[in-house]
Amino acid sequence: MLLAGTVYLAFMPLARGSLDLASLVYLPLLWKAVRGGLARTIGAVLLTNVLAVALVGRAAGLDPLRLQLGLMTMTLVGLALGAFADQRRADIQAARHAAVHAPLTGLANRVLLMDRMVAAVHRHDRDPLALPAVLYCDLDGFKGVNDGLGHDAGDEVLLDGVDVGQVPDIADWTVNSLRQPYRTAGREVVLSASIGVAVLEPDISRVERDAAHTAEALLRAGDAARHRLELHAALRRALANGQITLVYQPIYALGYGWPVAVEAFARGRTVDRGFSRRSCRPARAENGGLASRGGAHSGTSTTRASSLRSVR
């Protein structure tokens, strides 16, 4: 209505050969561009041209060139204004998004996390039963992926991990889902996750400290369950195929002349991926969560080692 009224005021005097009020049409055009962007400006430009031509008609004494140039200028300026408004809106939205999200994964960054934590504390103030908590998830062995397979493979695994994390389920489900092997850079990668849980204290001034507590809880959880990525997949395959044998190395004390201890090694015979020529201590398998499967393989040998150790 505003546009139609303005066009009427602007172009009706043209019947008398006057263009004094023609510039009025830029006001609603500017309004449309700022409020609605390019799409609405295109509609306004189209409507303005149709109304102007309909109003002016074949008015006597009117210079058609002046009218055509005026409409052309109005059309081009209107489109440029609409594009400018759209671009500015898109830039602002992108800047806002980039300020609170990680560029690779699109997940919320620390700024947004802290903002939500403060909001959670406020909610707790209003409703004491709404006690907020934070689940802090860390991918175990992710540094090994980056160092061993390259950052591109690390990014790929990270994005897969983010897809797993899309389901807002409990921590156990997330950990079990992340343990599924990933194929990246032509290799199989097995990850796991450590999740620390912290309950926020309802004191806004201590939100930062609560975040530190959360990180500390994460580290504790991670230390208990951290896996060695570079051997994990190979060990699982080797155990399943019976390719690991236990060998023992007695340790002699020069002063006594007899063995005082026995060191046990798990040796891979035909295992690929860098494992074939090396041996590793069972402690590594235990660290990788494979001790239970390896236990059946080495139970009697462990007993022998203990008895030998007791010789001293």
Binding site: L38, A39, I42, G43, V45, L46, N49, P64, L65, Q68, L69, L71, M72, T75, L76, L79, A80, G82, A83, F84, D86, Q87, A90, Q93, A94, H97, H101, G106, L107, A108, L112, L113, R116, M117, A119, A120, R123, P132, A133, V134, L135, V162, G165, Q166, V167, P168, L200
Partner: protein, 116 residues
């Protein structure tokens, strides 16, 4: 020929997105398709009409401006409307990415909002 060449330049040299999603796309479209090409076409048309005696050489600038402003207004009014309207049918532009801004899906936001 002139308009086809302008379209080729816009798509293959300047490489604008014909759906006009950014200010750069719109400005290049306005400069080349709405102003440059109609001016060239108007000049050729007026000269051609003068050569055959339909228009006089004395009115050459006014005639060129008249042809040019009419063509530019027509293109500026109709072409952007059609191009922007074509965003609703992505099949018209195969191989081009969706125009939505890089926003995070609600499911990912939900993961980030677990603490709330």
């Amino acid at each position: 020929m002139v308009y086809a060449g302008t379209v080729a330049v816009l798509l293959h040299k300047v490489r604008i997105d014909p759906r006009l999603p950014t200010q750069r796309d719109v400005m290049w479209f306005l400069v080349l398709a709405c102003m440059g090409a109609p001016l060239l076409v108007a000049a050729v048309q007026v000269v051609q009409n003068n050569l055959v005696g339909l228009l006089s050489w004395q009115d050459l600038p006014g005639d060129v401006f008249g042809f040019w402003s009419g063509s530019a207004t027509g293109i500026g009014v109709l072409a952007p409307a059609l191009l922007v309207a074509s965003r609703r049918w992505p099949r018209l532009w195969p191989g081009r990415p969706p125009l939505e801004l890089p926003t995070v899906p609600r499911s990912r936001l939900a993961w980030a909002e677990l603490a709330v």
